[in-house]
Amino acid sequence: MRPFLLEGGSVSQMPVAEGKSVQQTVELLTRKLEMLGAEKQGTFCVDCETYHTAASTLGSQGQAGKLMYVMHNSEYPLSCFALFENGPCLVADTNFDVLMVKLKGFFQSAKASKIETRGTRYQYCDFLVKVGTVTMGPSARGISVEVEYGPCVVASDCWSLLLEFLQSFLGSHTPGAPTVFGNRHDAVYSPADTMVQYMELFNKIRKQQQVPVAGIR
């Protein structure tokens, strides 16, 4: 598994004509992929909900509340991921959602915090590319691009190869290596690594939420 996420900001730097919307940029990207020879293979969805540590537990510990993110990925339909920023990633089965309801006293869902990305999966040789539109509530906030190179299990081994592939449809607007590539040299990539990257991407997009989409270029 070798996903790689393009944060909305990076994609927005693509030289799209003035006034192009997120949707138009997504179309441009997918058209480039199709020209390359990539084939459509269904759709995908990754969602994320933010939970605060409940006020009652805060007082007893005397600490600032930590944020917890509960995420789902259609690629792993039987799993549910619970992540803390810079913290551990818990992989549970989907019953975890029910558990969260029972844990209301300790973790409370942040209002209107749900963010998700939806889009089309593309297969090109051994590459799996997912171009998604990131939405919060009703509005489109940015674009996520995930590239997975299935044959390679060690992230840092195939970064150069991935970069060359990204350049073939993103042009020169390719980002630097995500932190997950440098962290652990020869660690075998896991689904949790993908979720951490999506979490970081979503957090970045949340912080940009004041910026109007049309202005992101």
Partner: protein, 311 residues
């Protein structure tokens, strides 16, 4: 063809010899005519006998004379058949009914063809010897001739010997682990794990590699019964390609007299895939071509090339 015949053949003598044969034949038939006719009517029995004997004697004399003449001429004719490059078969060219039995021209063609075949086989053998491993090139040429029956014995090597060879190779390469098992009787199966890049299933027959399948590090290599799955291919195109190349390598590293060298050479070559995703193509300098990394490794230099970039 006239050239061929003129060598050592005296045509004049030939013609004379033929008429001598005719003469001999007629004198011989006269002898039998005389015997058949028997004694002719003469007045006295004595006269009849005398005339018959004299006649018979004359005839025998002429047979003798004709025979001597033929012998004399046959020495003059010479021996054409021994001077002909095709020996006696060259005489087929004398056959007057060429159209019905074109044996001679067919024979010449077959002769030329077999000459050419021998020549090309010689060239091919020379080239193939150059391609083999340096340390064993001489060995191959010599031993193949002198010990042509050595091959079958290597098919029945004791399992212990196979185990030893494999474990020695296993120790040679730290980034490569080889697990040997014998799920189906005496034939060994190897599961080779190369770093965190790929896994290879190697099916052995004694020390000969019969079949090899390359799969991803995270792919399942076992069948439902818990044995190594030697039939299904990798789900990834890149490893399907590497499988093809590994099969080519098996055909390349051939050395029937020294199967352990073959296995070691093959493993050395296989080890170069440790950089499968990290080595750009040595020809075009790129990582990807048609979505695939450089899957080919040169048999001698072990350099990485795209399938289409190799010579």
């Amino acid at each position: 063809m006239a050239d061929v015949l003129s060598v050592g053949v005296n045509l004049e003598a030939f013609a004379q010899a033929i008429s001598a044969i005719q003469a001999l034949r007629s004198s011989v038939s006269r002898v039998f005519d005389c015997l058949k006719d028997g004694m002719r009517n003469k007045e006295t029995l004595e006269g009849r006998e005398k005339a018959f004997i004299a006649h018979f004697q004359d005839n025998l004399h002429s047979v003798n004379r004709d025979l001597n003449e033929l012998e004399r001429l046959s020495n003059l004719v010479g021996k054409p058949s021994e001077n002909h490059p095709l020996h006696n078969s060259g005489l087929l060219s004398l056959d007057p009914v060429q159209d019905k039995t074109p044996l001679y021209s067919q024979l010449l063609q077959a002769y030329k063809w077999s000459n050419k075949l021998q020549y090309h086989a010689g060239l091919a053998s020379g080239l193939l010897n150059q391609q083999s491993l340096k340390r064993s090139a001489n060995q191959m040429g010599v031993s193949a001739k002198r010990r042509p029956k050595a091959q079958p014995t290597t098919l029945v090597l004791p399992p212990q010997y196979v185990d030893d060879v494999i474990s020695r190779i296993d120790r040679m390469f730290p980034e490569m682990s080889i697990h040997l098992s014998r799920p189906n009787g005496t034939s060994a199966m190897l599961l080779v794990t190369l770093g965190k890049v790929l896994k290879v299933i190697v099916v052995m027959r004694s020390l000969f590699i019969d079949r090899t399948i390359v799969k991803g590090y995270n792919e399942n290599v076992y069948a439902e019964d818990g044995k190594l799955d030697i039939w299904s291919k990798s789900n990834y195109q890149v490893f399907q390609k590497v499988t093809d190349h590994a099969t080519t390598a098996l055909l390349h590293y051939q050395l029937p007299q020294m199967p352990d060298v073959v296995v070691r050479s093959f493993m050395t070559w296989l080890r170069s895939y440790i950089k499968l995703f990290q080595a750009p193509c040595q020809r075009c300098g790129k990582f990807l071509q048609d979505g695939l990394p450089p899957t080919w490794r040169d048999f001698r230099t072990l350099e990485a090339f795209h399938d289409t970039c190799r010579q």
